[in-house]
Amino acid sequence: MTNADMSDVVVEQIRQAGAARRPLRIVGGNSKTFYGGADTADTVLSLAEHRGIIAYEPSELVITARAGTPLADINETLTEHRQMLGFEPPAFGTRATLGGTLACGFSGPRRPFAGSARDFMLGCRIVNGRAETLNFGGRVIKNVAGFDVSRLMVGALGTLGVLLEASLRVLPMPEAELTLAQSLAEDQALAAMNRLQGQSLPLSALSHHDGRLRVRLSGAETAVAAAAARIGGEILGDGPEYWHALREQALAFFAETGDLWRLSVSPAALLSALPGRQLLDWGGALRWLKTDAPAEAVHAAARAVGGHAVLWRGADKTAWLSAEPALAGLQSRLCAAFDPYGLFNPGRMPF
């Protein structure tokens, strides 16, 4: 693991870009460029060399690292202390950085049971579009001083500011983990998932695709065994490999060609009106949909059940996200409040 503080270089690049009104493309590990709108800036601001774990205190359940630190380094350090990033972020390759992970705000299968990327964000140091270095939040679990800018940075795709470092809450690794599988049709699986989530069980993931419901249990050895006996089903020997493949989108489902949509909806919502095939994650609250339906139909279907859709991988970058008109104005004002000269990742967010 290498260690380097490149803050001064980053700030100076942003200062010069601001003076010249020259937009920047913020780059971490180059693993997630497919996501979001088309970035129009051609000058690259690389965070990849700005790396290193700055503080890690296992008894505090908090880790602080520079934005360019590879996720792999963070996972390795946490594993040594039997701790983990509770939101199980997808890496999509070995080069993923902490900054890119938080800027995208993706969370893995454990999300409904442990929390999302933004839920684990405690504080950050950023550079805004005026080349000012700012600190928000902190390294303690409870902190309500000032507006919650650190959580706002999660999922903002770098358009509000460049993350220099972040402090995240971490979780202890469960003592035991077990995966169960059962053959069920989609609608039955959806009902089963919601039934399970309505009970006090040590659930840590629930997915369904290709006619199989999969249930992951995490906790004390005795608790996992008791819950498994109650739920029933076949015990999967390759559970860890399966959840890893789901998180990293390495399952065959994701390899098929065509537009891939990500729908965030209420966990029992029925979306049968849309053609195509879907994979259910997050106990039904996350739907991966392979469809040739037009973008407007997908956005409308998600909205009809109070949710949201984004085009994950697909041809038409302009359709990736549909913002409500009332929100679009507010979001662009907010963006201007952080980045008044429009330096950061122009085009990546749809406003």
Binding site: P58, S59, E60, G105, R118, D119, N135, F136, G138, R139, V140, I141, K142, N143, V144, A145, G146, F147, D148, V149, R151, L152, V154, L160, P172, E175, N194, G198, Q199, S200, L201, P202, G219, A220, T222, A223, A227, S264, V265, S266, A268, A269, A285, L286, G306, G307, H308, L321, A323, E324, A326, L330, Q331, R333, L334, C335, A337, F338, M349, F351
Partner: protein, 485 residues
């Protein structure tokens, strides 16, 4: 400045005569929140009784440039709902309907004035509950909880308000209604939901919320561990968390708190102990059994002089009775007390408590400690006598010193009560000028004229300079071109 009678007439047209209070005697009720040391008589109180009236009132205030302070139940402890001169108080207590509980999707949709505890009561028949449980939960409103990002005993394991809200409807000062979040677990675009939670009524008024409900744990168990020194108790907290156990609650009471509550509720606490820890475990029975064995071993290894495991629900309640009655118990031994709220990294617990004792002695005041040890959230209760001239000023100064101590050890000036009016001076210690300016710019994106709860939560740089907390070069602030509110 007083509000023009023509404006009052327009308010009456929107909410009805009975829902507008202008009589000074009746306005008195609204002059402060639960931090009664700061008072300001409002010019007018407007009490909408339908959600649709809220955007209309806000639009009116925007047109007439009248400041608005939203108010839930007024249980805030930082003066967040303190009226501002020339402004109105928008009271939301009448909007107290639970709009629906969805047992399949495990959500509740409620109006802003619904009391926190009422949500869990409505969910109980479905085997569900709403986890965030501020100690004020029988009284405080969900709108106020969202504005303050309230926490409680159980937030170490179950998170703060921000972790348990799926969607809110937010009325802007121009009368627009925004839907932030959604029915799923995340939204699209910027996470405005996370930003709005904890924004202390400065960005908009929450008019509806959809909350996540969890299944009620079938088993709950509580341990009481006594320690001969505060250091041991503090170390035990770090040991438990470091070992990978996350209790549902982990609360610490020092000797003064043990004695005060024992005299009040007779919970059977060991009154000679320097500190006790209350450790609650919940969940599936097998999980609780396993956690209980580990917690007991960890507490013993940390040097606990006595460990009691509640034998039944009645004893469990007795263990908690003292903790829950701590505030009124302290109210019996001192004529007045001032409750502070700061968070520190857990490993500094013992050192910080010792430093608080030293500071208190210097001011000639007593401090009682009873707090959320599991998340390092301190609540020192500073005892004083409001009848003795200068005593409150001393308490306020001691409180300020304690918060600055929290910042010095890497913590923060507020873990759950918010900045409000109270902690503006300490904001100048925790944040630099550029950060405060960024907050102001952010606020402007929502509320360009600065009409929503002005002067709260984020101090102006002028104010920091006045307080001597921040150096402003030659009277010049960064970015003089930016308008300030």
């Amino acid at each position: 400045m007083t509000i023009a009678s023509s404006f009052i007439r327009l308010c009456r047209q929107i909410v009805g005569d009975a829902n507008v209070i202008a009589d000074p005697a009746l306005l008195r009720v609204y002059e402060c929140d639960a931090l009664a040391a700061y008072t300001q008589l409002p010019d007018l109180v407007v009490l909408p009784d339908s959600v649709e009236q809220i955007p209309a009132v806000l639009r009116l205030c925007h047109v007439h440039q009248i400041p608005v302070v939203a108010r839930g139940a007024g249980t805030g402890l930082s003066g967040g709902a303190l009226p501002v001169p020339g402004g109105i108080v928008l009271g939301l207590a009448k909007l107290n309907r639970i709009l629906g509980v969805d047992p399949i999707n495990r959500t509740a949709t409620v109006q802003p004035g619904v009391r926190n505890l009422a949500i869990s009561e409505a969910a109980r028949p479905h085997g569900l509950y709403y986890p965030p449980d501020p100690s004020s939960q029988i009284a405080c409103s969900i709108g106020g909880n969202i504005a303050e990002n309230a926490g409680g005993v159980h937030c170490l394991k179950y998170g703060l308000t921000v972790h348990n809200v799926l969607q809110i409807k937010l009325a802007t000062i121009t009368g627009e209604l925004l839907t932030l979040g959604g029915s799923g677990l995340d939204g699209a675009g910027y996470d405005l939901l996370a930003l709005a939670i904890g924004s202390e009524g400065l960005l908009g008024v929450v008019v509806e919320a959809t909350l996540r409900l969890l299944p009620t744990p079938p088993r709950v168990q509580v341990l009481l561990a006594a320690f001969a020194t505060i250091e041991q108790a503090g170390a035990a907290v770090a040991d438990i968390i470091g070992a990978g156990l996350i209790p549902a609650g982990l609360e610490l009471m020092d000797n003064a708190a043990i004695r005060a509550t024992e005299a009040f509720v007779h919970a059977g606490y060991p009154v000679e102990a320097a500190a006790i820890l209350l450790c609650e475990l919940d969940g599936q029975p097998e999980q609780v059994d396993a956690d209980l064995a580990r917690a007991e071993a960890l507490l013993r290894a940390a040097g606990a002089s006595e460990i009691r495991v509640a034998a039944d629900a009645a004893q469990r309640q007795r263990f908690w009775a003292g903790r829950k009655a701590a505030f009124p118990a302290v109210g019996r031994i001192a004529s007045d007390y001032y409750c502070m709220d700061g968070t520190i990294p857990r490993r500094h617990l013992a050192a910080v408590l010792a430093e608080i004792a030293t500071l208190a002695e210097r001011y000639g005041l007593s401090v009682v400690n009873v707090f959320h040890a599991g998340d390092g959230n301190l609540h020192p209760l500073i005892l004083y006598d409001a009848g003795r001239p200068g005593d409150f000023d001393k308490a306020e100064a001691l409180g300020g010193d304690i918060l600055e101590l929290c910042v010095r050890v890497g913590g923060t000036i507020t873990g759950e009560h918010g900045v409000g009016h109270e902690k503006l001076p300490q904001m100048c210690v925790q944040f630099q000028a550029a950060e405060l300016e960024q907050f102001h710019a952010l606020k402007q994106a929502f509320d360009p004229d600065g009409l929503l709860n002005p002067g709260k939560a984020v101090p102006t740089l002028h104010r920091c300079a006045e307080l001597g907390k921040m150096h402003v070069h030659g009277g010049r602030l960064p970015h003089p071109e930016l308008e300030r509110f």
